[in-house]
Amino acid sequence: MKFCAVKQYFDDENNNNITSGASTTMIPLPNVESHPLAILITYCKKHLKIKANNADNKKETEKEMEQYEQELLKKVMPQELTELILAANYLNFKEALDFFCRAVASAIQNKSIEFVRKFFGLESDFELGEEEKLREEFAWSFEGVDED
């Protein structure tokens, strides 16, 4: 069970001695929206399928996962990545969290400060002159940055 938060729910249910006779159970996930959840479910199913297909060959699993991840990234908008990270974190889905963190790092690594602030919904909270000082000190790190 990859969604550890969901697993936790089932474990809690069993501990309370509620017989889960019904085949469908509604699990409340108030912090996850349906779109990212759908992507995570697909990711999870794909991951398990690839793992099963390549039971003994770890390298093949990694290779196939990488290919799938590249394809997935083409379909996901960069702005959706933060949603996916939050969802994967809430669900305690380690592999997906790791993947989406890597994807975000890749997406922002050559971007400007302004882009990053917009991406994470942040604002500059520096005192007057503080930011200018930092920018001057580390001017070299701004060279070759992607245009917004």
Partner: protein
């Protein structure tokens, strides 16, 4: 629409970034600035760099015999699949330094001439910061004599500190005295400390030490004329002696693939490479290869081994330039890269934020331009 991402998740994203981006993102917000410059983050990021072998860079120091004051430094990105990028000139803290040793993205530079005071600098070239060590006098004995110093730079994992060692030997005329002065500088404490213990040896042969597993190593000669390997542990400040794996050839030490590497070199004849597979276990000395005539189209001499290729079948080595030695095929092939200087020495770096609180390496050209404005 962006969602607020809590700092703990930001902390899972940031260590994966190249250090140039991390430096730039110090300007995003106060919170990011505090996070990135924290010592915990530095540790995290370094672990991640080491694990994923990311931000790998070679630092090349041009060796111009004719114009030593104009030796330039270059950085060359080195990818996961053993490909070299373009060499780009970088700014170094002052000129005419030699590379002493390197570790975790730090390069230790030394300027030393016999009978003159030395200058030592620890430098993080990827974030352009450095720290110059304070000059430390040699506590000369009462009678007049000359001294000669040897140096080493390495990491002490027990104290999580980076250290420089200086061993001074003394001469009365041509006669070597039977005592040494050992001092160690710690990057954390930023000061020198004298080691009171005496070395259990007669003479040191290595020009500089080799650092591994929190210890410095030298080829030494003991009283009974036996040549061995001396190890000095930085944490518990103890000396230990190891047997060499062979007695033929000029003995030289290095580090390769995280193991102590011993080379027996006979000029124009062979260069024999052994690794101590289990540190401290003399029985684990294993020959990994021997370069013999025909394997390389140039004179066989001491070639410094730098690193293994990703599949472990080749070794990147330093001659006047760089070459790959294929262990199975027993063939050496020069690395052809037009952007490399003709002759150089190499240090290997990974991305780290160590010395973020150090001094800036000022680009002399930029400084001149500023003054003009």
């Amino acid at each position: 629409m962006s969602h607020y991402v809590p700092l703990e998740l930001i902390n899972s994203i940031l260590p994966r970034l190249p250090v140039k981006a991390l430096i730039r993102f110090l300007c995003v917000s106060k919170e990011w600035s505090a996070l990135i410059s924290s010592s915990n983050f530095t540790k995290n990021q370094l672990s991640h760099s080491i694990e994923t072998n990311s931000n790998r860079t070679l630092i090349l120091k041009e060796t111009c015999i004719n114009l030593p004051l104009q030796s330039r430094f270059f950085s060359v990105p080195y990818s996961d699949n053993d490909q070299f990028g373009k060499a780009v000139q970088i700014y170094q803290p002052l000129h005419n330094w030699d590379i002493l040793d390197y570790c975790h993205g730090l390069v230790c530079l030394l300027f030393y001439k016999y009978k003159e005071k030395e200058d030592i600098v620890i430098w993080n070239p990827l974030i352009r910061k450095y720290r110059k060590l304070p000059r430390e006098p040699i506590d000369e004995p009462e009678f007049s004599c000359d001294s000669f110093s040897r140096f080493g730079f390495g990491y002490d994992p027990i104290n999580d500190d980076y250290k420089v060692v200086r061993i001074a030997e003394f001469y009365e005329g041509p006669v070597l005295m039977d005592f040494f002065e050992v001092k160690v500088y710690g990057l954390k404490s930023q000061c020198w400390k004298k080691i009171e213990k005496q070395l259990p040896i007669k003479e040191i042969w290595s020009m500089q030490s080799v650092s591994l597993n929190g210890a410095f190593h030298w080829i030494v000669e003991q009283d009974d004329r036996l040549e061995s390997i001396l190890a000095f542990d930085l944490a518990n400040e103890k000396f230990q002696l190891f047997r060499k794996p062979l007695n033929e050839g000029m003995p030289i030490l290095d580090v390769l693939g995280g193991c102590l590497c011993f080379m027996g070199v006979v000029e124009e004849t062979y260069s024999d490479f052994w690794l101590m597979k289990e540190y401290g276990d003399e029985s684990s000395w294993t020959r990994i290869y021997k370069i013999e005539p025909g394997a390389v189209p140039w004179n066989i001499d001491y070639f410094k081994p730098l690193l293994f290729s990703k599949n472990g079948k080749k070794v990147l080595m330093e001659e006047v330039s760089l070459f790959w030695y294929d262990i199975e095929k027993k063939r050496g092939k020069m690395v052809k890269n037009q952007s490399f200087p003709k002759r150089f020495k190499t240090a290997t770096c990974i991305g780290s934020l160590l010395l973020l609180d150090g001094d800036y390496v000022i680009d002399l050209k930029q400084k001149k331009n500023k003054r003009k404005r």
